[in-house]
Symmetry: C2
Subunit: 222 residues, 2 copies
C-alpha cells in the first residue's frame, strides 16, 4: 500500500488524493506538518514539502506534479492528462496556473494568515493581506467563470487534472473563508459537481486542528 505524507489543508496533497481517488489507487494517510521540519521527513524530501508518496519497493515520489505524472503513466485508466499533445499542454498549463499563480497569490497568504499564524505563531492575521488575497481570488474565479462559459470542464470536454488541481486550491481557500461565491454561478455549479464525486467526499470531512471552516464548506448544495 502507498503511504501519502500530508496534512489536511495541503492543497497539493489534495490534488494528488483527488487523482488517486479518480483512478481507484489505495493509500494510507500519514500526517506530516512540514513547518516542523522533522529530520526524517527532510531526509526523504530535501525540499521539505508535502506531498510525498512512499511505496513498497522503496520508491519515494516527491512533488505533486511528479506524483500525478507517475500515476498517469502507471495507472492510465481513467486518463486525467487526456487528449492530444496540444490538449495535454492545455491541461498542464491550467494545473500550473492553479498550483503556482493561484496558490502564491491566494492560497499561500490565506494559509499563512489563517492557519500558520494560529497554529504555529499564535499571532493575529494581517487583515490587509487577507483582503488582498480575497480580492485576487475573485479575479481568478472570474477567469474560471469565463473558461466554463466556453467549456464543460476547465480544460475541455472531459474532466481532467486541471479540474482536480483547481478544486484542490479552491477547497483550501474555501475552508479558510477566502472565497466569496456571490456572482460566480458557473464556477459554483462546476465546484458542486466536483464536491459530489466520491474522490472528493473524504477530503471534505477532514478537519485541521483549531482552524474551523465556514458552515457551507462541506455542503454540496451551498
Amino acid at each position: 500500500m502507498w503511504q501519502l505524507f500530508q496534512f489536511p489543508l495541503c492543497p497539493f496533497s489534495r490534488k494528488v488524493r483527488l487523482l488517486l481517488g479518480e483512478k481507484g489507487v489505495g493509500y494510507d494517510l500519514v500526517r506530516e506538518s512540514p513547518w516542523l521540519r522533522r529530520d526524517e521527513f527532510l531526509d526523504m524530501n530535501p525540499a521539505g514539502q508535502t506531498p510525498v508518496v512512499a511505496g513498497e519497493g522503496g520508491i519515494t515520489l516527491i512533488h505533486s506534479q511528479a506524483i500525478c505524472e507517475y500515476f498517469e503513466e502507471t495507472c492510465p485508466r481513467p486518463p486525467m492528462i487526456v487528449g492530444s499533445a496540444t490538449e495535454r499542454a492545455e491541461i498542464r498549463r491550467l494545473v500550473a496556473l492553479f498550483d503556482e499563480t493561484v496558490h502564491n497569490e491566494v492560497v499561500a497568504p490565506l494559509m499563512s494568515e489563517r492557519m500558520l499564524k494560529r497554529i504555529v505563531l499564535r499571532t493575529s492575521p494581517d487583515a490587509k493581506a487577507l483582503r488582498e488575497a480575497m480580492k485576487i481570488a475573485n479575479t481568478h474565479l472570474d477567469y474560471v467563470d469565463w473558461l466554463l462559459d466556453h467549456r464543460r470542464w476547465l480544460a475541455g470536454a472531459v474532466l481532467s487534472l486541471a479540474d482536480l488541481a483547481a478544486a484542490a486550491q479552491i477547497s483550501v481557500a474555501d475552508y479558510l473563508g477566502g472565497i466569496d461565491w456571490r456572482g460566480h454561478e458557473r464556477t459554483k455549479e462546476w465546484y458542486a459537481a466536483l464536491k459530489s464525486r466520491p474522490s472528493f467526499r473524504p477530503l471534505l470531512s477532514e478537519r485541521m486542528e483549531i482552524v474551523t471552516p465556514p458552515p457551507h464548506y462541506d455542503k454540496v448544495d451551498f
Copy 2:
C-alpha cells in the same frame, strides 16, 4: 517555425530553449518583457509570464513545464524525460526543485534586486536580500555537489531535463553575480560540460540591456 516569447534572463525560457536545442527543434525568438504587462501578451497568456511558444496552426503553448512535456511527447528523440516511470518521477522532482525552490529562494530575489530594480524601478538593490539569496544559493550548490557524487548527471546516468532546468536557473544566477563557485568543484565540472554543449552556446552570448555579467559568465573554462 515556432515563435518563443522570452527575454534574455528568463530562466524558464532558458530551460525551454535548452530542451529545443537538444532536440534540434528550430524557433524564432520574440522579445517580451513580462513586467510591461503588454495587453496582447496578456491576451495570449493570462498568467502574464514567459515563456510562451506559438506555432503555425494557431497552437499556443504556455508554461515552461507544459511546453517541455509537449515537445517531449511530439519530438521524443533524444528523450529528456527518460527512463522508467520512477526515473521520470525523479527527473520531474528535480525540475520542480529548481523551477520552484531554487527559483523562489535564489533566482527570483537576484532578478528583482539586480535586474528589475535597475531596469524598471531605477532604485538600488537591497544588500541584505542579495546576501541572503547568495547564502541560500550556496546550500543548493552543496546539494548539487552531493547529487553529482552519486550520479553522473543530476537525475542519473544520462543527461535529462533535470540538468537543463538546473543549468537554466544557475546560469541566470551566475549572470547576476549570485554564484560563488569556490568549493563546488563537482558542480563546476558538470556546469562546464553543459556550457560547452551547442544548445547552451547561443544563450551565453546574449546580453540583457544595462545589466552586465561577470567576466567568467560565458567562459567554459571558468
